[in-house]
Symmetry: C2
Subunit: 151 residues, 2 copies
């Protein structure tokens, strides 16, 4: 066993998920709109080619509507909500799996009553997210279902 | 959105976890001892550099005692149990995080009363597991705590 692995076991706590894992701001980019989302980096090991992150969207909150070349592999581990992936809106329940393909608009929203917590696996090396232009946002809102989702 | 992503949403089912994801034998290698473990590959996308797998150890069951160069990033998502990592035995509860460093002996065991289900993130390209020699197994059992764990 090597010296760079001092902590092998990080217990969970139902309230805060993992007390030993820092709770981070969701975005560094102040221009990206979102509401009531926290981020925890659960695994970020130089020997692994992916990161595993945990995002928690508070009741009534939502992540940024964005897209990028890199893929998201998502699993719900707390609460429920909905997500937009491409042109489809999905209801999300505990343990559901969601794939976000390259360059596909996506957003996660908690319901009004409970948070939505999900794991997201991504490549460690990845591109930065793109935000929709006004034209692109208008094109998304042309779908009544997507407009209703976006609120 | 590209054609190779026909299924974006795979709902979970409390009984079987993910009805649309095949339940596989834990090991292809008949020489590797284990008891009552199933495996599901949740994400195995050529655009991702890691896989996310789900293993479920039935009550009283255990995974193979093994080691390898590649790293495991583990999160408990069902039930409880214990694991050996190196020379330490950890009690595992829901959502606990476990790291398995390179070339470190490890094994997961469910308790007698409930299953232990966990996610395991690994690099897509990785080495094959090694089993302990008789000498190595005896060295592990020299620790009373590890001998008690191994049963």
């Amino acid at each position: 066993m090597e010296a760079e692995y001092p902590v092998l076991h990080r217990p969970a706590d139902q309230a805060t998920q993992w007390p030993s894992v820092p709770i981070l701001a969701y975005k560094q980019d102040a221009a990206a709109p979102y509401k009531d989302v926290t981020r925890q980096i659960l695994f970020d090991d130089p020997k692994l080619n992916c990161q595993l992150r945990y995002f928690e969207v508070a009741a009534g909150g939502h992540t940024t509507l964005e897209r990028h070349q890199h893929v998201h592999a998502v699993m719900v581990v707390r609460g429920s909500g909905r997500c937009l992936v491409g042109e489809q809106v999905f209801e999300l329940a505990l343990h559901d799996l969601i794939t976000v393909p390259p360059l596909t608009w996506h957003q996660f929203r908690a319901g009004a009553q409970e948070p939505l917590g999900f794991l997201c696996m991504v490549n460690s090396e990845r591109d930065r997210p793109q935000l929709p232009s006004e034209t692109e946002a208008a094109a998304l809102r042309a779908s009544a279902a997507i407009a209703a989702f976006m609120g």
